[in-house]
């Protein structure tokens, strides 16, 4: 799993039926010092996260489908938690 920050929302009408009702959020993965790492990605939201929140994301199909509550959904990323704090031991 990875840590990221929600940076935007995406709206889509014409989409695969398994996405019906799913919330799509644009997430920027972060380094441990909160700097951006790599490209932003699109994830389905399983926990009610919002823009600017720090979140826990899974980047794997089966886990993302579980978060959506649907089997065989064509998803590869999902938000599975909102992060309160991260402590890094120096």
């Amino acid at each position: 799993m990875q840590i990221g920050r929600v940076v935007g929302t995406v709206v889509s009408t014409q989409k695969h039926p398994k996405f019906e009702g799913a919330k799509l959020l644009l997430v920027q993965p972060l380094n441990l010092d909160d700097t951006p790492r790599g490209a932003a990605l699109l994830a389905v939201d399983g926990v009610g996260a919002g823009v600017t929140e720090k979140v826990l994301i899974v980047l794997e199909g089966r886990a993302a489908g579980e978060a959506l509550g649907r089997k065989a959904a064509p998803v590869d990323a999902a938000i599975i938690g909102i992060i309160d704090t991260v402590d890094v031991q120096p």
């Binding site: 940076v7 935007g8 929302t9 995406v10 709206v11 889509s12 009408t13 014409q14 989409k15 695969h16 398994k18 996405f19 799509l24 644009l26 920027q28 490209a39 932003a40 990605l41 699109l42 994830a43 823009v51 600017t52 199909g61 993302a64 489908g65 065989a72 959904a73 064509p74 998803v75 590869d76 990323a77």
Partner: protein, 94 residues
């Protein structure tokens, strides 16, 4: 998934039999400020997208799920057309 713009079409006649009837599109992944991110790639289209549209696509074996129980040998598939997306500009000190 990733947001991308459809920048072209790909036509193939001789191909894996499970690819017959599938539409192949060339997509350019985008950054949140709509700039190209990395190299373009070919994706199968499950939603009827067209050139010039913003879409989102899934990577990996999940790209074949819209065609279940057929399992076409693909690693990227368009699964939605983007109506609009809003990006919060980064703010200092958050």
């Amino acid at each position: 998934m990733h947001v991308a713009r459809v920048v072209g079409t790909v036509v193939s006649t001789r191909k894996d039999e499970n690819l017959v009837g599938l539409k192949l599109l060339l997509v350019q992944p985008l950054t949140p400020d709509r700039q190209p991110a990395g190299r373009p790639l070919v994706a199968v289209d499950a939603v009827g997208a067209g050139v010039g549209e913003e879409v989102f696509f899934v990577r990996g074996k999940e790209a074949a799920f819209p065609y279940y129980p057929v399992a076409p040998p693909v690693d990227a598939g368009i699964v939605g057309i983007v109506d609009h997306w809003d990006v919060e500009p980064p703010r200092a000190g958050r």
